[in-house]
């Protein structure tokens, strides 16, 4: 755990989120033109970056796949489980010359999960809740999550994870308002799809109430003042959280700073820019507004004669409903995630579009006029919403974001500006767990998500063991999360610029080969391989894993989701009709850890069995049992090193007899301080002691003071004492049995070793002198010449953190060769096997 990123290590379902793959951080991969072969054009991956490069028209229209096809890229069913984002809806509010206006919201009938909002004070526990598996969250997952059918599951990890299972709940709201009405708690005329007349004859419009709150009131509270411009706006109206990133019209009457001012600004503000929001990377909008706001207004806000129709601010607000049974941390985390990954980027994109062609205002005007018309015609809400979304790309974009994020999917947003803005937004989901949720870490919301792969192999660690979020480790392989042909056909239908290289890469890249190997074998540039892999990982089509190998060991994952077993079993039969049944195979794997190869009925089955393995890992059913080790120093070695040290000490004290009368204490001290160093070092001791003895010699010409006499007497006494000690030490040493190197130090039961406990070298990177002597002594013992030569090189992996399985890859050796060498070390290694 030492040098791992805390966010990865701290807890079970930590956000081991995918790196900001090709995100706003520059992707050097895409720019470097060197390397053997290029699969990639110089396009970037995260589509938001593309939208930002629009001002240069040559790069704009071709660089990205169109949004509608990209939605096909979304995975429907795969084991990367989504987290419950807590999002219940998105609304757009603007302030125009008519004051604040509530423009649009989606879904039309947001459902607040009221089950979770019963305040459980203290430990007042509903008895039903305690019954096995009868978790409150189960109620709402019926339509989306067939797997939860087994409500009586008694696995504590499985039963209590309602928070992560809710993502299916909001699917069919628009098409099926009746269903949502049935589910929601507040059944009443307000929920109806149609207009009706209130008690005093006023018209009650169905869309003028959202979350039980009148939009008339919401529009004012959700249009905060200018102080919130491009700041985090976080309002809690119990039980809802409103999170947004409001954007105001700049005080010079534009939505974006002109490019001209950018250049001289940039020069001046270079050092400052690090502190700023990342949106300043946006080349169109480099300047923070604060600078200008503080200065005198350039020109007063023009009231109504602007071409943006008097709109002075807009605000796309994301509404979250977070179960109250969570802790504050949970709430905080949810808001944070949505804000950082979605809210900010979405509002920025709108700002970009607004600055470009007055997009937000025009769309808002359109939506509001449609609403007004429908109000007069008393159209039902469902009709109106369908109309709006068909005609307004902004409304459709809000729908897309809202629907996708609610289900923890990747949202692809298309704003029909010219050129269009395309981007993707997602809350990253972890693709593996590095720690198992324990029953002790009770009640934490961040519990393991059953079905997620557990492993401590971190694809983001670079070769030096540091976390690098932007790059994948080249020794990892790509595991597709779906059928290869299926992904390829989807990519083909997408037919974008990236499709061809992606398809080619997928064809070339088996999960048994690392990125580096794939690159070398096909002479493609490694950067291209990694970039393509990152693309697939970003789009949740693949995960990085250590390359699969038949000689590795795989066990049934402790985190596998057995509730999925019935369906998975059927799918397995379909995929591998001739293989053993899934439960049988899992049972066989789990009985005792063995090389995967040993399960092959014959050599010919290798291919199929490797496919089966990929299938199992993809589904989180099995995980690799990896081997970790530390160097173990047996008593025999300890004794030998100790004996050597003492013998050096004895020799050192014997050798310089002449120095004993002139301040031998210096030499003595030195030798005891550095006892391990052989006779070569004793000569330096000599010189040291000579230096020491000079001052007394020089002073001997002077008459001796009483102090000097006392001093010399003292020195003499010390010397005598030291001599006596040395003698005794030498005698004791002579009495000791001589070390004897046996073939198996671990089995040496000699009496003089009985009191010495074996020693473990914790980390070969940080060793003291003794440890290095031990390591040398062990190295000298290794019989095989090749293994002996490699000892020092291999030692650095024996730290309990690097899996032995990865040594061959890291050292660029043949696997067999590496294991052959390790076999010679076996006696001196403390081995632990875990994932």
């Amino acid at each position: 755990m030492v040098n791992r990123d805390p966010s990865l290590a701290v807890s079970a379902s930590g956000r081991l989120g995918p790196p900001p793959l090709g995100g706003t951080s520059s992707t050097p991969a895409a720019h470097q033109q060197d390397g053997p072969r290029r699969l990639l054009p110089t396009s970037k991956l995260k589509l938001w970056t593309e939208s930002r490069s629009h001002p240069s028209p040559n790069a704009s229209s071709s660089a990205h796949p169109p949004a509608k096809t990209r939605s096909a890229l979304q995975m429907s069913e795969h084991p990367i489980l989504s987290v419950d984002t807590g999002l219940v809806g998105v609304c757009l509010v603007i302030r125009s010359r008519d004051g604040p206006r509530f423009v649009f919201h989606h879904p039309p009938r947001p459902i607040i999960d009221t089950v979770h909002h019963q305040h459980t004070q203290g430990t007042e526990i509903d008895q039903n809740e305690v019954e096995d598996g009868g978790d409150g969250g189960g109620d709402d997952s019926g339509n989306g999550n067939g797997e939860r059918a087994d409500e009586d599951t008694s696995d504590s990890e499985l039963g209590d994870d309602a928070g992560y299972q809710k993502h299916g709940k909001t699917v069919a709201r628009l098409d099926n308002p009746k269903a949502s009405k049935r589910r929601s708690d507040h059944v009443g005329p307000l929920d109806s799809d149609d207009h009706y007349d209130g008690l005093e004859g006023e018209q009650v419009v169905p869309w003028e109430t959202v979350f039980d709150l009148p939009t008339k009131d919401l529009e004012s509270i959700l249009t905060p003042q200018r102080s919130f411009h491009k700041k985090r706006f976080e309002l809690h109206l119990d039980p809802l959280y409103f999170v947004s990133y409001p954007v105001h019209l700049r005080e010079d009457g534009t939505w974006k700073k002109q490019r001209k001012s950018k250049k001289d600004k940039q020069a001046k503000n270079q050092p400052l820019e690090d502190n700023r929001d990342e949106d300043d990377i946006d080349p169109l909008d480099p300047g923070p507004q604060q600078d200008l706001e503080k200065s005198v207004l350039l020109k007063p806000l023009s009231d109504d004669d602007d071409d943006h129709g008097g709109m002075t601010m807009f605000n796309a607000v994301f509404v979250l409903s977070i179960p109250e049974d969570g802790t504050d941390e949970h709430t905080f985390q949810r808001i944070h995630e949505v804000y950082d990954n979605v809210v900010k980027d979405f509002n920025k994109a709108l700002k970009h579009a607004q600055a470009q062609c007055d997009y937000v205002w025009k769309e808002s005007e359109l939506i509001m006029s449609m609403k007004e018309k429908a109000r007069e015609e008393r159209r039902p809400m469902s009709w109106l919403w369908n109309e709006i979304m068909a005609r307004s790309s902004l409304a459709a974009a809000i729908r897309d974001v809202s629907d996708a994020i609610m289900r923890s999917k990747i949202a692809t947003v298309h704003l029909a500006t010219n050129p269009p803005v395309d981007m993707s937004l997602q809350i990253p989901v972890p693709f593996y767990l590095s720690q198992l949720p324990s029953i002790i870490q009770s009640g934490q919301r961040n519990k393991g998500m059953p079905g997620l792969l557990v492993t401590t192999a971190n694809p983001l660690l670079d070769d030096d063991g540091n976390i690098d979020h932007a790059h994948l480790n080249k020794h990892f392989a790509l595991l597709l999360l779906d059928d290869k042909d299926k992904i390829i056909s989807e990519l083909q239908s997408d037919n974008t610029e990236l499709s061809a290289p992606l398809i080619e890469y997928i064809k070339l890249s088996p999960p048994t080969q690392s990125f580096l190997q794939v690159a070398q074998a096909n002479s493609i540039s490694l950067n291209d391989v990694k970039t393509l892999a990152q693309h697939l990982i970003y789009w949740r089509r693949a995960i990085p894993i250590p390359p699969l190998h038949a000689r590795d060991t795989f066990i049934v994952s402790p985190n596998c989701d057995s509730r999925k077993l019935p369906n998975a079993s059927l799918a397995w039969n379909k995929a591998f009709p001739l293989a053993p049944q899934l439960p049988t195979f899992l049972a066989t794997l789990s009985a005792a850890p063995r090389h995967y190869k040993s399960f092959f009925p014959s050599k010919d089955h290798r291919g199929q069995y490797m496919d089966m393995l990929a299938w199992l890992i993809r589904g989180g059913w099995v995980t690799q049992l990896r081997t970790f080790c530390w160097i173990m120093v047996w008593p025999e070695i300890i004794y030998e090193v100790e004996y050597e040290r003492m013998s050096n000490q004895v020799n050192a004290s014997k050798e310089p007899p002449e120095s004993s009368n002139s301040g031998s204490n210096g030499g003595n001290n030195n030798s005891s301080r550095r006892p391990y160093i052989a006779s070569t070092s004793s000569s330096t001791d000599e010189s040291g002691s000579e230096k020491d003895s000079k001052p007394p010699l020089a002073s001997s010409n002077l008459p001796l003071t009483s102090e000097q006499i006392a001093e010399s007497a003292r020195l003499e006494r010390i010397a005598l004492k030291a001599e006596a000690e040395n003698l005794a030490f030498a005698q004791a040493f002579a009495a000791r049995p001589k070390p004897e190197a046996t073939a198996h130090p671990s089995l040496n039961n000699a009496a003089h070793l009985a009191n010495i406990a074996p020693h473990i070298i914790k980390d070969p990177h940080r060793i003291d002198e003794k440890d290095s002597l031990y390591m040398d002594a062990i190295g000298a013992r290794i019989e095989d010449e090749k293994a002996r030569k490699n000892w020092a090189r291999f030692c650095r992996y024996f730290n309990g953190e690097d899996a032995l399985e990865s040594i061959a890859l890291l050292e660029g050796m043949k696997r067999k060769e590496a294991w052959g060498i390790i076999a010679y070390y076996q006696e001196h290694l403390l081995i632990s096997r875990h994932w």
């Binding site: 956000r15 401590t456 530390w630």
Partner: protein
């Protein structure tokens, strides 16, 4: 037990010195409360000391630290004496003037005040809309964070409608300002309570609305009142302020704990605190009975049986204890169990927090204390596919007699508590059962029948318990259908979907592992698999 003021160590600067202090306090607490030392030390970074205001010391170990995106700091708990409340103020809506802050403490913190030159915490004008919002948003908690994202303004605007007021309504709000990195929930509760109190007093005696006109002697003015509330909450986490003859404001900040895990009948609770010492007669009767039976060995079913408390009540009681983190739950210890190390075992080898010594002392039995090396070896030699029995045998073959030196149960418990190892459970899977599940409509029928089945299981479990071990009705039934025509009639059929560990069968059917295996042997050939995970 609930509101335990804490001194989070992350606030203190000198970590080393603090560790020493904590270590000494821990010893003291350990001695006085009987918490096993390992329960106390643990991860120092997340250990916070709770000192009960009225009573003895209690130590609170929480596995905090949500990974906050790697950039934001974890939220802090409230604590006494750290001035968590930055400001408290009372605002009301005046028909002529609009929203006005009537009183604030400290002075000048929210709106400018004469004679105060300090900078204000935030710009009230920007946020006034959220302090007294429109009527639709009143009578609920409304919080807003200032644009600089430094302060969290927690309020509960109240709107009282009555013809006696101008414009027929009276709106006010008592707000507490805390920093954004402090957990807000305890303060939300306090604000809600303040709103409730003053609403009641306003309705009773127009306490707030007539504040300007007559400040009579019998009742305290609002200003000093808020001052006291703020000071007391800051310093003692609670307050008790008499307002007038009829009203007293009592408030206390409560730590909100995470929802505890569901307690299963095969769990084994282990005490972290000496609850026995603080139990008194006012406690729930079942709770009292259950607490007496917790010894770190008995499983929940056994505790229920021995305490003569219904199983589900026992579970509730234990969950209650788990909520306050006074117990931890592990699973049954048997020598046939299998354990598997996790990556955390590295921490043990590295001897983080002196774990090796701690563990050595914890699992020491009469006899010589073995070297820490052997503990490392014992942990690393655990592996899936190797039962404890086999593990002991293996070490015996290598000349190391574990049982002579180590209390294996305590050793394993230590590993489990520290997360160095995890239990590998055993599951039975029947192909036929899976097939049936896959083909039956997954969404509707199963949930309806499943709870009933569970309830039945719980009942029969209880039945076996009370009926002692001999010949229970359930077993009688089983004997009658010794050779079932289809596995569906098998006694253990419902456990064979791969979701029920053997531990559950053991507790619910009162069958040991060999007996279960024996019974499963009668299963149609080739249909049943046993999986370990």
């Amino acid at each position: 037990m609930a509101a335990l003021p804490k001194i989070p160590i992350e606030l203190m600067e000198d970590k080393e010195a603090l560790k020493k202090i904590l270590a000494s306090i821990l010893l003291l607490v350990s001695a006085s409360s009987g918490i096993p030392a390992y329960g106390l030390q643990g991860s120092f970074q997340s250990l916070s000391l709770c000192i009960r205001r009225h009573g003895s010391l209690a130590v609170h170990l929480f596995h905090g630290g949500y990974p906050f995106n790697g950039q934001s700091e974890p939220l802090k708990d409230f604590q006494a004496g750290a001035n968590m409340i930055e400001a408290i103020f009372f605002a009301r809506f005046l028909p002529q003037e609009g929203t006005r802050v009537v009183y604030q403490s400290p002075p000048g913190s929210v709106v400018p005040e004469e004679g105060v030159d300090k900078p204000r915490l935030f710009d009230f004008e920007v946020l006034s809309e959220y302090v007294i919002p429109r009527q639709a948003f009143c009578n609920r908690i409304v919080t807003i964070k200032d644009p600089d994202y430094k302060y969290h303004i927690i309020g509960h605007p109240v709107c009282i409608q009555d013809p006696k007021y101008e414009r027929n309504e009276f709106m006010f709000n008592f707000c507490i300002v805390i920093r954004v990195d402090i957990k807000p929930t305890p303060y939300k509760t306090a604000v809600r309570r303040l709103a409730g109190h003053f609403t009641e007093m306003e309705i009773q005696s127009q306490f707030l609305s007539q504040i300007d006109e007559s400040n009579t002697q019998e009742r305290r003015a609002i200003g000093p009142l808020l001052e006291i509330i703020k000071e007391d909450l800051n310093n003692y986490n609670e307050c008790n302020v008499p307002v007038d003859d009829a009203n007293t404001i009592n408030m206390k900040l409560f730590t909100i704990h995470a929802t505890p895990p569901h307690i299963k009948s095969w769990h084994v609770p282990i005490m972290k605190t000496k609850v026995n010492d603080i139990v008194d007669d006012t406690w729930d009767l079942s709770m009292q009975k259950v607490i007496k039976e917790i010894d770190g060995i008995k499983d929940v079913r056994r505790i229920a049986h021995d305490a003569d408390v219904a199983l589900n009540l026992t579970k509730i009681a234990l969950r209650h204890l788990a909520y306050y983190e006074t117990i931890i739950v592990l699973d049954m210890f048997l020598f046939g169990n299998i354990y598997q190390p996790t990556a955390e075992v590295k921490d043990f080898i590295d001897d983080k927090d002196d774990m090796q010594t701690e563990c050595g002392n914890y699992c020491l039995i009469n006899g010589p204390r073995i070297d820490n090396f052997y503990l490392c070896r014992l942990f690393t030699s655990l592996i899936t596919g190797r039962t404890l029995k086999e593990w002991i045998k293996m070490h015996l073959d290598q000349g190391f007699e574990i049982l002579k030196f180590v209390d294996v149960r305590r050793f394993i418990h230590y590993g489990l508590v520290k997360g160095l190892i995890y239990r590998v459970h055993k599951y039975a899977i029947s192909h036929q059962h899976l097939l049936e599940k896959a083909t039956s409509s997954p969404s509707h029928s199963a949930p309806a029948t499943a709870p009933a089945a569970t309830a039945a299981a719980a009942n029969s479990g209880a039945g076996t318990l009370s009926g002692a071990t001999a010949h229970t009705p359930a077993q009688g039934h089983w004997h009658a259908t010794e050779t079932p025509a289809s596995p569906k009639d098998h006694l253990l059929y419902k456990y064979t979907d791969g979701c029920h560990p053997f531990d559950q069968i053991t507790t619910e059917k009162n069958m040991g592992d060999p007996k279960i295996m024996d019974s499963l042997r009668k299963w149609p050939k080739g249909d049943l698999e046993v999986m370990y995970r």
